[in-house]
Symmetry: C2
């Protein structure tokens, strides 16, 4: 049995790092800043991807694939975009290696230098809008509703598994529209898709809002976002949807002819979520015993473990487990029977707790006699005996309850750690000591926002979509404000 995880209260960050590795989700690779996503972690990501992909298709989107390389010059076409993305990136300069003349190994062939350097995509607006120029001539070609599942690279100096890695997996939607209104509607629609996914599938409550100009995507006119609170009270941006205005259409000269043959620039959105969601999932629900997974994303929803003393007992228990597993699978529940005779039940219990399997069903000879199961739930670490009769419905209800309970728990935590503050002292207390979200008045200027960040490391996570109009004064400058925004330290 492996040793215990560092408890969260002792060192939250260390707990996270240990958990990700010990629960077999991911690990560092031999390549600086790039992770290996292990099969168990990837199975969770696959479930996320499948849910999201179905939602994108249900809202009329299609998948496509664009090149991983972007010529350097493409980035310079959109002025703010280049500052945001082209600086810390992986640059391909050569296309060949050769044997060193001194026999010391293989070296870059100086003869094979590219005329123009290629950037490994940090995001694909430029290459996609270069393509859309060819796809769009008239209003008949609009809207274009395309999504891409891909890997992207942003050169990061300090990395953490899932949360910040040089390479990560994501989806990026890129849509083109005839009107400003339609593009804005699309950007908001996709934010709703993300919020729904976060709350219903990940069981992670989120605040929907707008980013301030400072925190906006480089090249966007408006960035919508969903922000979640982690167990340590810090914020994590879980998804963004950008209204790009006509910025990329102008940069790449993409115009369409309307019914009267007038030419106009096309309106754009882009939106994305990434393997960072894995970090949000882990940090929202997990505990000192390991991973806790909402049933909707658990690769194994139910694990069955037999407790026996001899081969005869083993045989009858495994037969019973197979029978019940078949009944559970028939209603769409994924079940693993761990009948491995070489490991003790205690070791198995520990292992499946670490891996966050939502429900554990244990059966021994006495239970078999009594027609019952010992059923443990991972979220509360409690257990009870349930009659074998009606077990399928009971387990189904239990999984639903766990899903809902995880959401409620996270929502309660966020409510408890969200504070309306009206003075600078209260603000600092929330950010530094209480470690939570501060709902505070802000004067609307980037200067004040930056000053507050310098003083406290807190940033404006978002201007909530449901912000109540309310007269107030900025907590730092005392200047007038019309509503409260969400401040927090963030991942």
């Amino acid at each position: 049995m492996s040793e215990k995880l560092t408890p969260r209260h002792e060192d939250y960050s260390r707990w996270y790092n240990e958990l990700v590795v010990r629960a077999d989700l991911a690990e560092q690779s031999g390549v600086r800043g790039c992770m290996v996503i292990k099969p168990y972690g990837y199975a969770i990501w696959e479930k996320m991807r499948d849910y999201l992909d179905a939602s994108f298709k249900a809202t009329g989107h299609q998948n496509a694939y664009f090149p991983i390389f972007i010529p350097k010059s493409y980035f310079t076409k959109e002025a703010s975009h280049v500052d945001g993305f082209a600086k810390e990136c992986a640059v391909v300069t050569h296309y060949r290696l050769k044997n060193a003349e001194d026999g010391s190994g293989i070296v870059v062939d100086p003869e094979a230098r590219l005329e123009e350097e290629l950037i490994v995509r940090p995001t694909s607006e430029t290459i996609i809008w270069d393509t859309y120029r060819r796809w769009i001539q008239s209003y008949r070609d609009l809207p274009i509703l395309v999504n891409q599942w891909a890997n992207v690279v942003r050169w990061e100096m300090r990395t953490r598994l899932f949360l910040r890695t040089s390479e990560f997996l994501w989806q990026e939607g890129h849509t083109a529209h005839a009107t400003r209104e339609e593009a804005l509607e699309e950007a908001r629609r996709m934010l709703e898709v993300y919020a729904d996914f976060a709350e219903k599938v990940m069981a992670v409550p989120v605040i929907k809002g707008f980013k301030t100009a400072n925190e906006r995507f480089a090249g966007a006119d408006e960035t919508f976002c969903i922000e979640a609170m982690m167990q340590d009270g810090k914020a994590l941006q879980a998804g963004t949807s950008h209204f790009l205005g006509q910025n990329f259409a102008k940069a790449f000269d993409v115009k369409y002819a309307d019914k009267d043959n007038n030419m106009s620039y096309v309106w754009a959105t882009s939106w994305g979520v990434s393997t960072r969601l894995m970090g949000a999932l882990i940090m929202t629900h997990s505990d000192d015993s390991g991973l806790v997974l909402p049933p909707a994303l658990a690769p194994i929803q139910v694990v069955m473990v037999p407790i026996y003393k001899n081969a005869e007992q083993y045989t009858s228990l495994v037969a019973k487990m197979n029978e019940t597993a078949a009944a559970l699978r028939a209603v769409g529940i994924s079940v693993k029977i761990d009948d491995d005779d070489s490991q003790k039940p205690g070791w198995k219990f520990h292992e499946y707790e670490l891996k966050g399997v939502p429900v554990r069903m244990v059966i021994g000879p006495k239970d078999l006699e009594k027609n019952q199961w010992e059923v443990a739930r991972r979220d509360t670490l409690t257990k009870e005996f349930l009659p074998d009769e009606g077990i399928v419905d009971a387990v189904k209800a239990l999984l639903d309850d766990i899903q809902q309970n995880l959401y409620n728990k996270a929502l309660n935590l966020r409510r408890e750690r969200t504070y309306e503050v009206n003075t600078w002292e209260e603000f600092v207390d929330v950010i530094d000591n209480k470690c939570g979200f501060a709902l505070a008045h802000w004067d609307g200027t980037s200067e004040t926002e930056e000053k507050i960040k310098e003083l406290t490391k807190a940033t404006i996570r978002c201007i909530p979509m449901d912000m109540v109009e309310e007269e107030g004064v900025d907590i730092l400058t005392g200047k007038p404000s019309r509503g409260r925004v969400v401040f927090a330290k963030a991942y």
Copy 2:
């Protein structure tokens, strides 16, 4: 209406290039050698991926994800692998751009040179076996049955959409085993999975065989392959499965302890198919009217087109189409109703022929009265009237028939164009004039194989798994041979 495709008999290669673009499958991007896979093409690839992924999982494999970058030094660890893959590749040398001092734009920051260059993966054996070293200690950790869906880059001088692009999408399975026998069995099992997929889903008959030493994967002890014949008689390698022996285990020092605590090197396989399959699919079935798709891979299996003169007719036809479409969808058939009033039926017929939709159902006011549909099949370009009663079963049977017919047609073509040859003259005639597969005796040496390639451009596609033992003499050298191998020109 767009102009006709170049007919195949006029210029097969041009026909292919036009078809790929006009059927909205893919196009060249602004990045040399990299393609954009368009939504319609990607939808076909997604279906391929889903079928294959399900087969991999059914045979016990799990997905994972490994870094896109591979340190240069990793390649030098496996001697033959470096020659095969590290030469023509995309090399990342820097991790930052900066504003040029003369204000001319952005340039590579010379200060940000990587200590060790990173190669964009051309295949992942090296990075994966570097990882497996950490995963494998004892026999309990084996087998590892992992697959990855990813993009890879091989710098190609001459590219063609799907068939040969610098970046392509693929899956690569990488497995680790305790014994030679188990690894060999795995490599053969995955070849069967590929062959089954090619024949049953893609409707592409394939020959299963071994590669000669010359054509083997760089780093493999044995390469199994499936080879298909395109309509022009050339071969296309549609998938490979490699028995890697202990080569990568030795290169990356991956050993396991057996039950008696003896340490041994681990045995390996790798296997992959790529977006190249799209090229095979297109070149096997399509015709001068455009794409022809087997129903199993068609994003739209049935398209419905109404023929009408007035709004009243339109309304009743669309109502009928919706009703029948719902019935077809209920049995898992994908249906598109093209009720676009701004396009003429003739334009639509042409469009769906170009896009390879297997079945077209047309209905007009008279058909409605007579309770019938005009049903056209894309594979034979024939049409017939079918009664509305029982239409669901009839369409289902038709789709099955099209799937089978495409396979049979391709198999007949291959049979017609496969020749047993016994003399050099016959051999040259098959390769140069008849353009087909030559089943010929070969003396088993690489020298002869290379000589034949120089003289005719034909290569040994494979040594068939079902090769009949037969005494014979090499068609070039006259030296003794024990069986016939498959020679052809290849894509």
